[in-house]
Symmetry: D2
Subunit: 292 residues, 4 copies
């Protein structure tokens, strides 16, 4: 329990690479007899570690505890690319952005409210200096916006949604799963491991790959950008220097993924890691040839 901006906050710690511990959530909620907890926060897909968490399990924890707290979910790097079920999982507020699964430049924060969450905004006394969803609602009721809207991104979102519908949402999810699985085959072929500890938490949109002890994983990211013009992600926080990340979401094909894997191999060999050129690519190719 700590204080943030004058609010009491429980932070549920979990080792990097693990999904969120729903049983611990449940215990805390059960112990909160007076329902002082108003909101449970959960990240669906943790971008820093490539870890997917089980949001349905958080809902079950809430239900098992008979607790009325709302469920807020960070779906920034999952919504549109991985299966996310706002209604079925009883999510009250979900947030994502334009720049991940929707394949657009950064610029739109896309937020969903349940009826219950909308109701709560009417009685909440939290200060709203920057954003009040009621302004949006009033605008929408009049086919308008409460401020100058980013029209270009909104047209882009319309097109992105048409692309997703043309491909079929299930097919979009399956494509991300296939591409990610190919990456995981490559990682195994390299003799490396993911930061994510077990298959049930493997993310289909980003893989954080652990490098050997004593090796600075950030060097991979720097060299990939400098020598091969490719953008990987650095490790953040506790895993800084220990992992590098390959993003694999959005408008991506198996063919494009091979390019990323090929560059990762060149860079790792350049930096002296004991990796066989083409080994990860071949593992991914074998999977992509058969993968659905």
């Amino acid at each position: 329990m700590c204080q943030r901006h004058g609010l009491d906050v429980h932070i549920v710690e979990t080792p990097w690479g693990h999904g969120l511990p729903a049983t611990e959530y449940e215990a805390i909620l059960k112990a909160d007899k007076n329902h002082t907890i108003k909101v449970v926060l959960a990240t669906h897909n943790e971008t820093a570690t490539g870890v997917k968490s089980d949001i349905a399990a958080v809902r079950k924890a809430l239900d098992a505890a008979g607790h009325p707290a709302m469920l807020f979910v960070d779906g920034v790097s999952s919504i549109g690319s991985m299966d996310f079920r706002m209604d079925e999982w009883g999510v009250d507020v979900a947030v994502t952005g334009s720049q991940k699964g929707f394949m657009l430049p950064a610029g739109l924060a896309i937020v969903g409210f349940s009826d219950r969450a909308m109701q709560a905004t009417k009685t909440s006394t939290l200060p709203r200096t920057f954003f009040d969803v009621h302004d949006m609602q009033k605008g929408y009721d009049n086919d308008a916006f409460p401020y100058t809207p980013p029209v270009g991104l909104m047209n882009g979102l319309k097109l992105a949604l048409e692309m997703i519908e043309d491909e079929g949402l299930e097919n979009v999810f399956a494509r991300h799963r296939r591409i990610a699985t190919g990456v995981r085959h490559a990682v195994k072929a390299w003799g490396l491991e993911l930061c994510a500890v077990s298959p049930d938490v493997y993310s289909d949109t980003v893989s954080a790959i652990k490098t050997p002890d004593g090796f600075n994983a950030t060097d991979i990211v720097t060299r990939a950008a400098d020598k091969y013009g490719m953008a990987f992600g650095v490790g953040l926080g506790e895993v800084a220097g220990k992992v590098f990340r390959i993003g694999h979401l959005g408008m991506l094909t198996d063919a494009m993924m091979l390019s990323g894997l090929g560059v990762a191999e060149m860079v790792m060999v350049d930096l002296g890691l004991d990796i066989k050129l083409g080994s990860g690519v071949a593992a991914a190719q074998e999977f992509y040839r058969h993968g659905v």
Copy 2:
């Protein structure tokens, strides 16, 4: 010698995969004592076979024969990507397009005339129904065009030229050579051969790769497009069904090339060719790691 549109035409045949035979040009020119030959045509880079020809040698043939014919060069798939020297090689007319080395959509035919060629257009009696360079010249003299110009493509060309100058023309050539050499290493690793018969005629912008007898190379192109969303080129004319082509020019990086090689491997294995997945990619990677 044959007739085309009422003109006598010598066609110099050369086996597919070979460069143009400058000595044969020279012999024909020397035999033409009356200088009835007005123009010598040559293709700098043959897109169908991935063969580069020695334009300087054609100039030497003209000079050795003391023949006044003009030299017209098709540089469509070389200019801007491979070393081409209009003045040094005494080229009188050179033609290229916007959609190759200049990295733009198709739409602009870019033509260069030597002073001598411009002079010849003033006395030539050939009919000009579609295009007369004098219309262009008159327009340019007044900062104008003789017809509605494709402004978008012309702005694009300005930007493309700035990109090329920023990278440095020599660096652009070197990049194409490096990428193409990587492809050739991959082809060797696959146990296949280029249509181009020897290193001196290897093209740096397109590789036509021969497939084993009895195999329909066009199937590679079809499957790459259908299953992996990648565009290769089919064999044309005499080599239809016998080669497939990988284009590697324009705004291309080593990393992107690995993607094409990886797809080629998957497709060839899919179609039953005896290729080891990752083998060509690894050969290219090894080269790209060290290549300048």
Copy 3:
């Protein structure tokens, strides 16, 4: 009768500002007992003079003469903006471009062939060095193109056609008629006259406006561009210096047209013509307020 590229050509002269003389066409066709005339050419909308011709009348002339010649129509500045009926008028070949009624950059020549015209291409012995429609047909039969297509413009054309269908083709025609009529009201208010001699030949896509004797109309175009950043058209050929042209086709609204009229007024006053500022604008406004 004259010779062009080895062909006998009748040129039917008509004073600038008049439409094509269908009766003269008919007389020539009737006199051609041996049917040596193979093709009748007609321009639907003459861009230099802002004159619309009656293509249906040419068809009637052909029919009245019982002459089998084909009818080729230049519809560059009419098709998509003014009523054009290829089948009803028995047009055999019609040509337009992407940069007029289709609201795109220059770059596509859009050509329609009747069945009869396609049939004729099979027996015609005219040389085809630049374009052979059979290459296109063969390509289309295989969902392909005989050469690298300008994909961007083709996607643009698809969008342009959707825009036209959304507005409704009849509405597009009506909009052009309304905007053009407003321009004609402005011209009358200025005390000037169109090059086009009578309402039946007034073009709905471009107006060529005569300036007083002794005045150089080209100065209007120069000053409009230099001082006000607006592009008018100069007079061409026989009317060079005698007219300036206002184009009013494509993605244009009444509101945008007022801008052009307002600039024309400022320029004419700047250059000393006896024009009242706002007079033409007011005449157009009055019409646009009520015009359908």
Copy 4:
């Protein structure tokens, strides 16, 4: 004095149409002997009323009172279009957006901090949930961003700044002044008045125009959009229904402005106001012909 988010706030009321009262600011600051006021807020250009305020006078008020409060300025609809002098006027924080003077889509908030303001952020205890400028500073120090940046808009901003530099910032200001002055001549010709009460507060980027008593100015905006496809602004707050607004900033020319004035005239006549068509256009034209 009132409370906002737990802070004491002086709100300085001024009648709509007037600029900010610097003398009143000075009095309040002088009375604040204990320097409890930390920040003075001022809007440079009030978009709702088309009123420009004298920011230099606020600085003088602060100096005259010997008061250490910082000066924060809303320059959303002025910066880049009207003369704004952050250093000379001693502005500590200035804010604008991408969608006004910078001619871009909405999406970038552009904020400037003085050294003093940056210093204050280090000791301030105000909660920062959404934005902390130190995150930006740390990022910039490493040529990086603390979050995914909107790259497209940033490239657009670079281009916008190049356009402004090419034209010359003083010329950009002069152009806005000229265009706005033309609009004011038109308003006078219509027999109407601006919401802004005197020339010293006339905005060069937006004009709010008062309509006669009993007339609903919002009808003008609705009809302009519905019938003529043009976007004017409605009156807001106290002047809702009493004014309509014409924006005239960004990539705008005299010629384009005539279009807006022409539509305003048509709409006002359509709605029964006693306006002479062309009268305002003519007044603006006369000015634009001579205006620098």
